[in-house]
């Protein structure tokens, strides 16, 4: 049995099905979680009619969306209009291939995992732009333009932060990055950056918590989540790039948003919070690891939901200013700081 499951084609197929099921089910139930969370924040119960406490609500929503016709507005570019939802869904699925959910639970561990994730993560913006462009709607086109400039602005600090972490970890292999953070929460990168307990000397980046905040902010902006949801600014641009989409066309965009959140939070978990490592040092192998990973990732996801229902939306130029004037300089500074903190002790060592 074990040998059968570990056959390469079978393994690939299983992971493919697993990832698709995970993304689909996760998106459906994150929508429910979001609505329930919003309900809690707004002092109301949220959806509670379909099934026990509303657990069947995603099913009802999904069926309703599936049953609706996907209308292609006259005069739109019908090919691009249909391709866009596919393009928005594919990148997060690809990213999940290399995310290590546990010490053995990873579809394909790649040496360049981190690069892979960010390479595919960037395609997302193209899909939103295409969708908005092909819709032939003024609101959608304005939204497309916003999405592009927003993503360009936020890609830079995000990648600077990632480079900072790369200098610290010395590898792009997500499994190895996780392995470096074993042994308890004090060894997670967010603390290891300040003081390396394993090596017993100062860490590579004293501003690690700030780095994490920058990463998290950029992730919110990249996934077009409030308070940076310029793509779907419903009080300004009706529904932004998705204005003309109906039925499952819209549903796929919606699912992709949640899939992107999962990818973003998973990467944050791996990079800053030790991936599947246990916070106490033991109970970290096998299914425990998967449990820890999901716990950490979902804690971040709930933070994302919490932020959305707490803050008003930023204005577009404030958003760009935040990136160009605060996030990029600060992340450049942390990058330099990391370089200094890594190199100076090495020189000192050589001198001795």
């Amino acid at each position: 049995m074990t040998t059968f499951l570990s056959l390469e084609p079978i393994r690939v197929l299983l992971y493919l099905v697993g990832i698709c099921a995970f993304v689909g089910g996760n998106a459906a139930y994150l929508v429910l979680a979001e609505r329930k969370g919003a309900g809690r924040i707004q002092r109301r119960p949220g959806p509670n009619e379909a099934g026990w406490a509303g657990v069947l609500q995603p099913l009802a929503d999904g069926l309703k969306l599936l049953a609706k016709q996907v209308l292609v507005p006259p005069g739109s570019d019908s090919l691009l209009y249909r391709i866009a939802p596919l393009m928005v869904m594919a990148p997060p699925l690809m990213c999940l291939v290399t995310i290590p959910f546990g010490d053995t639970v990873v579809a394909r561990n790649l040496d360049i995992g981190l690069l892979f994730v960010f390479a595919f993560g960037s395609i997302n913006v193209m899909a939103l732009m295409l969708g908005g462009w092909a819709s032939r709607n003024k609101y959608s086109i304005m939204s497309s333009a916003r999405v592009v400039s927003q993503n360009v602005a936020y890609e830079i600090p995000m990648l600077l932060v990632v480079i900072t972490l790369l200098m610290m970890t010395g590898t792009m292999d997500l499994q190895e990055i996780t392995a470096q953070q074993s042994g308890g929460f004090w060894n997670w990168n967010i603390i290891r950056g300040i003081w390396d307990f394993k090596a017993g000397h100062i860490g590579a980046n004293l501003l690690m918590p700030v780095t994490f905040v920058i990463f998290f902010t950029c992730m919110l902006a990249e996934t077009n989540r409030a308070p940076f949801d310029m793509a779907e600014a419903e009080s300004e641009l009706v529904a932004g790039a998705f204005t003309e989409y109906g039925g499952m066309g819209f549903g796929v965009f919606f699912m992709a948003e949640y899939a992107n959140i999962v990818v973003g939070c998973s990467v944050a978990t791996v990079l800053f919070f030790g991936g599947w490592q246990s916070p106490v040092g033991f109970l970290s192998g096998g299914l425990w690891g998967v449990g820890w990973f999901l716990l950490k990732a979902y804690a971040l996801i709930f933070t994302v939901i919490w932020v959305r229902w707490t803050f008003p939306r930023t204005q577009f130029y404030n958003l760009l200013n935040l990136s160009w004037k605060i996030l990029i300089p600060v992340s450049l500074f942390t990058l330099m700081l990391t370089g200094v903190l890594i190199k100076v002790p090495q020189w000192l060592h050589h001198l001795r």
Binding site: A233, S235, P312, R313, Q315, F316, Y317
Partner: protein, 390 residues
Amino acid sequence: MIASKESLPSAAGAGDVDHPTRSPDAPQETFVLNLGPQHPAAHGVLRVLMTMDGEWVQRAEPIIGYIHRMHEKMGENRTWAKFLPNTSRIDYLSAMHYTHAFVGAVERGARIEVPERAEYARVITSELNRISSHLVWWGALLLDLGGFTPILYAFDDREKILDLLEGLCGARLTYCYYRFGGLYNDVDDAFLKGTRDFVRHLKPRLRMYRDLVTDNIILRKRLENIGPISADMCRKYGASGPVIRGSGVAYDVRRAEPYSVYPKLDFQIPTYPAGDSMARYLVRMDEMEQSLHIIDQALDLIPAGPYQAAKVPRVLKLPAGDYSFAVEAARGRFMVRVVSDNKEVPYRVKLRTPSFSNLSLFEEASRGMILPDALAMMGSLDLVIPDIDR
């Protein structure tokens, strides 16, 4: 820092970093954006025909009339009393003030003395209505800015006001509580006690709103220096209410043309000189506190006695003449002018509504703003579309 003036699209300037202008080299192409009549930010059936230059508004022309219901003409073919319920449908969010103006104009014409108790009750209910109206505005503005949660808190508080007023007159929104010479119904002890409880309840809530929402940096960035309206522009377009008070002019009908028992009550007129959207926001937030203060005093001062003037004829005939009565409604100065030719039916009913004037300055004030700012400014004007179209 002032965005709307310096960033006129035609002006070739670098602009402020926070509010950059278009590049002078960019091609001079514009497109027309029909904002509304079905648009989430229009709060009703307002249509704004926007000539856009990219994200910049070059010209925003409000097109009104989608829910015109001919209230003024209706006034000319029904008796004085039969027109009374119409007034509360004009601005459904501040119905008390609107009925007050019409009732006041008729009382002036018919020389009806209103008992003291009724006047105090009118002040209490009017101020409650002002608070409920401002709460709706507050929630809706935050909704325009993309904050979803505040409106549910605001409606939670507003619900309490609606319950109180429902207990008095049976209506929750379009009240017809004031009658010629007094009230439909006496204010009972349950209402007075409930109002006291509500005042106690809302004070800490307003503090919470200030801490959670007003001081939020995103909100401040969205409203400060956005859509400045000078006092001159307010005068030019006849803007009133929180809009003119947000431009530093302490004009309040309750003080400028005192009516009811307002002269006996102590309250301040909150003004902010900045004239930006934040100033209008803060004026309304302060007004809610002032309204609570007025209610507090009125509850202490309300005398016992009749709530309705004796001998008001069932079918009124106003002596020939021209009578007007202005009130400070939640959105500004609302005035009813009635002309009587000594018949049972008015000769003319003229309604001067504040939202109409407040909207008319939008075209000038929004020039050169970017779309989200223009909509934030529109939200800060607190428009009620039936009040514009009436």
